[in-house]
Symmetry: C2
Subunit: 454 residues, 2 copies
């Protein structure tokens, strides 16, 4: 039997990130200020280092990965590419299924791929501290890890309801030496404003972002870091797909379809963009490749949203970005794939979808857990609920292959393990989870609040 | 910089387990029945398959690993050997530190190394079901995984207090399709007896073992499986040290000292015995190797116990084994390395210690968490509290090397990750953990209850 795990050596860690902007037929529109004018890097220097802003705006195809970042990646990279022999047998499919296991990182997901370089570039810029926010804790724990590796202090504003209900990611952050506060706090004006209205506020990601940005903007030694959506975040994640390509080369195969869960977009970008590069470069084998972003039916940004300028956050503090959005005050239900509860999407991913160069589908929650359990019983690995979206889409395609007899090569990104999500699996087993399909009227209502300008 | 991870290919998974019995100058004494007579395999056939009993009694040096077991091992094996560059720098030691990461298995520890072959041999013997017990859940989840891989139903009697307080390992077992019951149950006579005395009994490992053994003994389609202590369990774990030797060979190094946490003994056996094989074979580089079992000061079996025949369980149901023991009714305090709370130790490990061929040390609880946090901040990985015992011992030696300038090569086994132990880290951070050093009088009292016979 061919190998289960396709491994690379540390010297195979890519030397450059791939910037999809270079290959986009329509270049991404710039972020706009409230006045409708493009926001230049100068306005963002208060919270980001110039090196990251240059990456954010860059049109260069290949961006070198600094050696200290490659060295830190070696803690867990290259991540293994698995051939899902057992899952294929369980499904009885003629399709070949591969998955990249990003859950092998110390924080358990793909997030450190960008936390590490963000910490590095901030350290290089003389910054001493990072302020950031986290919901359930995936991003906060990744930033805590990265800060420790580069000697930066990290303060995490963790949404209060998660701080109280999901203590173990908080414990991880403490283990890596980060400060963690339940947001809203009384340490920022943004937090105090919320507490004045409701001293028992459970918090929200929007409020936590506001607190972190306020702190970063007001302290010269402190910057802000974001875990998805932005161009430079998508850029850093392309290490996933680049490694996967080398691994496919090693076994003489190449995917017909790529599946990745899509919340803010960087996980999908990381897995899919390097294959888009092959297509753009005219490689024959890549001409018919299908790149599929998988989102929840409860937060159907790419499949039901509109392509327009909107705020990145719920409160309207951020610049406006051209993207698929459900409206910045769209409030998705409390599904168990917290990383996919985002009203908008990466500008890069949105542009590619709008230009018909990638695809998007939405899958319901119960079916994703069903797929996750099937995957665990076949492959052993317990996946994060976000990753179960990609697994669901891939299994569905493998079953279509079974029906048609097509021996397609399918690839999905297993973005993280589910060790901190077992309570969600428990609810699934107890029959306590529901499928949410967002009513069209609710989406229409949220879209009426889109910003008007210009 | 040399590689951080020393990897092997799947074809490098060993083809044989190493049986240390072949190289022991004094062969292990047989288990005895209550009459003081050796217990033959016939008496154990009600709960174990003959193939495993043959391994339990074997004196052969090399025992072939069946191909289906090697194939299942490929889900995660060979596990990586890490060179702890970052930890070395943090400590400022001239020592080289390596660790084998057994936490990469789907269940998160070394336990599946034996759960997988135990499931295989039982399946081959026509058995349909496995009954077993678990405390905090490491073993139960490993057996659940292994049962699913070979199509066996698994029922786990989980100590009630853990069932209630540690729900997430229970969720893992459910995900892999196992039945999990809070022990004591009303499904066995052993359980009913306990419940009759105390309907609110929190349960104990001893009671859970009794329930699982009773079920296995009374149902022809059901066998029992044990996760440590026994010779065949130690045998299966030797895949760890064998892989490590190949990995050291790959980088042209060899350990001066091997450290592994020791509860029932199989983790230590797995890491250390293959190096003992080199010494026994007269290999020059192995003549001065030191093999160090690390136990908690709160349960100092090897360092404070006596070498004598005692029961394997608290209730006195099992055969008597010649081993280091604190007395079968010794009740260690509720430390956070649950896997190390065992009154006795593997017969093999005990014999080797008694013959002066290995060493044992005890380390206090707080110092192990301190080492675990230092390790996480250097290497990224959050270790299980059990593994932190080996880390502590290894760091102490590295610091001695710093003082003396000796560039020793140190190797420890990272037996598992700590993702399901974050509550223990929390207690450590909150200053709620204590050091327990068991009073000599308490040990003497327990030793007065040693069985008398013959």
């Amino acid at each position: 039997m061919p190998d289960t795990k396709i491994l690379l050596e540390e010297r195979d860690i890519p030397t450059h990130w791939y910037n999809v902007v270079a290959d986009m037929p329509n270049k991404p529109a710039p972020p706009l200020g409230p006045d409708g004018q493009p926001v230049g890097p100068d306005k963002l220097l208060a919270i980001f280092p110039m090196s990251l802003l240059e990456q954010e705006m860059s049109g260069e195809r290949w961006i070198p990965i600094p050696e200290p970042v490659r060295e830190a990646y070696r803690m867990w990279r290259p991540s293994p590419l698995f051939r899902a022999h057992r899952l294929e047998r369980m499904l009885g499919t003629p399709a070949k299924i591969y998955y990249k296991h990003e859950g092998v990182s110390p924080a358990g997901s793909h997030k450190p791929n960008t936390a590490i370089p963000q910490a590095y570039y901030n350290k290089e810029a003389g910054i001493k501290r990072i302020a950031t926010e986290t919901g359930a804790g995936q991003w906060g724990s990744s930033m805590a890890l990265a800060g420790k590796m580069f000697g930066l202090d990290v303060r995490v504003y963790m949404v209060k309801v998660s701080y109280d209900q999901k203590p173990f990611r908080r414990s991880m952050m403490h283990t890596w030496g980060a400060e963690v506060y339940a947001s809203p706090t009384d340490m920022t004006q943004a937090g105090r404003n919320v507490l004045a209205q409701d001293p028992n506020s459970p918090g929200s990601l929007g409020v936590a972002i506001s607190e972190a940005v306020e702190e970063a903007a007001s302290r010269p030694d402190t910057n802000y870091a974001l875990g998805s959506v932005l161009n430079h975040v998508c850029l850093h994640q392309t290490i996933i797909g680049q490694e996967a390509k080398k691994q496919f080369e090693k076994v003489g195969d190449y995917p017909d379809m790529v599946f990745a869960a899509c919340g803010g977009g960087s996980n999908f970008a990381g897995a899919a963009f390097p294959f888009f590069a092959d297509k753009a470069a005219g490689e024959k084998r890549a001409q018919n490749i299908r790149l599929v972003a998988v989102e929840p039916t409860s937060c159907p940004t790419l499949t039901k949203g509109v392509f327009t300028y909107d705020y990145g956050d719920a409160s309207g503090y951020t610049p406006l970005m051209l993207m698929y959005t459900l409206g910045h005050d769209f409030m998705p239900p409390g599904i168990h794939a917290g990383g996919l509860r985002y009203h908008g999407d990466s500008t890069l991913v949105s542009h590619l979808l709008h230009d018909g160069l990638i695809e998007a589908i939405a899958v319901p929650q119960l079916a994703t857990f069903e797929a996750g359990v099937q995957f665990a019983q076949a492959e052993g690995i317990i996946a994060a609920p976000e990753s179960c979206h990609a697994i669901r889409a891939c299994i569905d395609e493998a079953l279509r292959c079974k029906a048609t007899g097509e021996p397609k090569t399918l690839f999905f990104n297993l973005s993280g393990h589910g060790h901190f999500d077992m309570a969600s699996y428990d609810k699934y087993f107890a029959g306590e989870l529901e499928d949410y399909v967002y009513p069209e009227e609710a989406i229409h209502a949220a879209l009426e609040h889109l910003p008007k300008f210009g």
